[in-house]
């Protein structure tokens, strides 16, 4: 019966569509900068360093520790006043308080979401997986700049990192 075949096809299609939503969602987030997903890729400097604006804005750094007793993970500076178009650097500090090795990665998020696509990272510890030996204290560098194309009404940006331990199964992304 034709109707039934067509309906079953719709069902199967929608089942796979639910999985397709994941890449679609990421594509939409990347294109629009929604969700505070900042790019996890190195940016080329010359695309935005031509003009240094006199505009001032605040950038705040925060972190989320999943398990404070195991790994302390904090920004060295909590706030900076910066100008768009110029490259700045700062540090996050990780202290492995446990007596075993910790492997994992920091996942960034930017607020307001709209600012995400204007925050360019030239070098970031979040690009790679990190390994901390027992008791080790590590300084993690971050080089970034704000694209001067960012709308002027944004005066404060918050950059947040959450450090997640890698799960044993081979990672995606």
């Amino acid at each position: 019966m034709g109707t039934v075949k067509k309906l079953i096809f719709v069902c199967v299609f929608m089942f796979f569509f639910s999985f397709a939503l994941i890449p679609l969602y990421n594509i939409i987030c990347d294109v629009t900068g929604l969700n505070g997903n900042t790019s996890n890729l190195k940016e080329k400097v010359n695309t935005f360093s031509e003009v240094v604006s006199t505009e001032k804005l605040n950038i705040q750094f925060i972190s989320h520790e999943v398990n404070k007793n195991k790994l302390e993970f904090k920004p060295k500076e909590f706030e900076m006043t910066i100008s768009p178009g110029k490259v700045y650097s700062t540090l996050y500090v990780a202290t492995n308080k446990s007596n075993s090795k910790i492997v994992g990665q920091a996942i960034p998020s930017v607020s307001p979401n709209e600012a995400a696509k204007y925050l360019k990272k030239l070098e970031c510890f979040c690009f790679e997986e990190q390994t901390f030996k027992p008791g080790e204290v590590v300084e993690l560098p971050l080089y970034f700049a704000i694209d001067e194309k960012m709308p002027k009404r944004i005066k404060t940006i918050t950059l947040s990192y959450s450090f997640f331990e890698a799960i044993d199964v081979s990672k995606k992304n």
Binding site: C11, S18, I22, G104
Partner: protein, 523 residues
């Protein structure tokens, strides 16, 4: 259609339990679904009473918080998937073939399977109450990472949802195939009763979104057991993604729960107003546009997750747009009653109660749709008040209206009218006593899904708990009344209700086991 054989094997079927296990008759299967829904209604109701007992007073009294949260989670799953959906599927099985003049459902064997999957799925779900780590307690919305902390119950929960979904999809395919292929000659689409129309559209919604839920929960399952990271930020996933998938299913789902009610009410109001339904075709178009719009409003459940302004505004406006076709329906019902020669038998009372109280729920929905306001209302008892108004005096009242309306047809006996009215008035009084105060505590900031609350909410919660027990006991009248009517009573005529329109009233009461083996003539 032309393959229908002459009724040589009338009423020839195995008796006892085998009749019910093997039946492929749409009337038997309709009854099975309805009985199943009734039983689950009491199981889900019992869970609600556990919740209301705990909330009777502030502080922790009866159950521990984990169990309280299992109760809210399981109550929702049972009521949505175990009561409202199967009850409507039961009505569809019983009524659609005899409303369109077809001999049975298009796929009778599959019909049997799709019913018998349900008791299986629900045994699996309810068995989690006895497992290590308790029943699922992360909310019926299953948001990760919380839902991933479920104990041994987790895989049972997911597979139960898979099976419920499978059953609904099979039921929906069957309904679409029946409506498209089994109509009597002359029964054009635009002559179909609205109950059939609303079910056709509901079935399409089911076919489109149940697989999305199945996909979403499958991803939860692989995240938990197979190390994928669909929703796990540590592995590059995103928990908010689950909310998008869930509500992409979830919002159309709430329309799955309400559209068949629109059909029921559209059948009852004209009968007791003794006037044809006002604006039949606008009703059809309104239903179709509600269904279409339901796909583009899902993020109104997620206003607070941190969407960009453009997203908030889009979903706010799209949600408000749904109020337009919904309003068309309400106006059409009211206009149908306008200057009608109305009488107020029990089905009509439930239908009118539906219109009034569903509209209250619609209005609180509109309030929730206002993004900046929702930042205050979200996850408070105001939301609980909203969806209970649309679901209890909404969907559940419509189901009860349908049962009173068609019970004389099904059984051949009239139900006791006075008792029916008592049931209606008690239910209406107690449902409002239960849910109206929730608006106030919600606006005042009482969060949902929490077993304790601060003192200023105490009075209204006590009132709500009284209401809930009253409502629960009032439902025993319903059961008594159904059993009594099946056992006997004043004989119903074939037409049952004076001036009732539709093919179902041309059959005898009760109808023969196989009806319309020769298609009726449609005027």
């Amino acid at each position: 259609m032309s393959t229908v054989v002459k009724d040589t094997h009338h009423d020839e079927h195995p008796s006892g339990i085998m009749r019910w296990l093997t039946t492929t008759n749409h009337k038997d299967i309709g009854s099975l679904y309805l009985w199943f829904a009734l039983i689950m209604f009491f199981i889900g109701g019992l869970m609600a009473l556990v919740i209301r007992s705990e909330l009777f007073q502030p502080g922790l009294q009866f159950v521990d918080p984990q169990f309280f949260n299992s109760m809210t989670t399981m109550h929702a799953l049972v009521m949505i998937f175990g009561v409202v959906m199967p009850a409507f599927t039961g009505l569809a099985n019983w009524m659609i073939p005899i409303m369109i003049g077809g001999p049975d459902m298009a796929l009778p064997r599959m019909n049997n399977y799709s019913f018998w999957i349900m008791p299986f799925a629900f045994s699996m779900l309810l068995s989690t109450l006895f497992m290590d780590g308790g029943a699922p307690a992360g909310g019926w919305t299953l948001y990760p990472p919380l839902s991933l902390q479920t104990g041994d119950a987790f895989p049972f929960l997911i597979f139960a949802i898979h099976f419920m979904g499978l059953s609904s999809i099979m039921g929906a395919i069957n309904i679409v195939a029946t409506i498209l292929n089994m109509r009597a000659p002359g029964m054009t689409l635009m002559k179909m009763p609205l109950f059939v129309w609303t079910w056709l559209i509901t079935a399409f919604l089911l076919i489109a979104v149940m697989p999305v839920l199945a996909g979403g929960v499958t991803m939860l399952l692989t995240d938990k057991f197979f190390g994928t990271s669909f929703f796990n930020a540590a592995g590059g996933g995103d928990p908010v993604m689950f909310q998008h998938i869930f509500w992409f299913f979830g919002h159309p789902e709430v329309y799955i729960l309400i559209l068949p009610s629109f059909g029921v009410v559209s059948a009852i109001i004209p009968t007791f107003a003794r006037k044809p339904l006002f604006g039949y075709s606008s009703m059809v178009y309104a239903t179709a546009s509600i269904a279409f719009l339901s796909f583009i409003v899902w993020a109104h459940h997620m206003f607070t997750v941190g969407m960009p302004l453009a997203g908030e505004v889009f979903f706010m406006l799209a949600t408000m747009l749904i109020a337009v076709p919904t309003g068309v329906k309400v106006f059409n019902w009211v206009t149908t009653m306008w200057r009608g020669a109305m009488t107020f038998e029990t089905p009509m009372l439930f239908a009118i109660g539906f219109i009034v109280m569903f509209t209250i729920g619609g209005f609180s929905g509109l309030m929730l749709a206002i993004t900046p306001a929702d930042f205050q209302y979200h996850d408070t008892y105001f939301v609980v008040a909203h969806f209970h108004y649309v679901l209890v005096p909404g969907s559940i009242f419509a189901i009860m209206a349908a049962v009173y309306f068609w019970l004389p047809k099904w059984t051949g006996n009239m139900y006791p009218e006075t008792l029916g009215k008592v049931h209606f008035w008690l239910s209406t009084f107690f449902v409002n006593l239960t849910f109206f105060p929730m608006h106030f505590v919600g606006l005042a900031g009482m969060p949902r899904r929490i077993p304790d609350y601060s003192l200023q909410f105490a009075d209204y919660n006590m009132i709500a708990s009284f209401g809930a027990f009253g409502f629960g006991f009032a439902q025993l009248i319903f059961v008594y009344l159904i059993v009594k009517t099946i056992r006997g009573g004043e004989k119903a005529t074939d037409e049952v209700w004076e001036g009732a329109e539709g093919l179902e009233w041309t059959l005898s009461s009760p109808p023969p086991y196989h009806s319309f083996n020769t298609p009726p003539v449609i005027k």
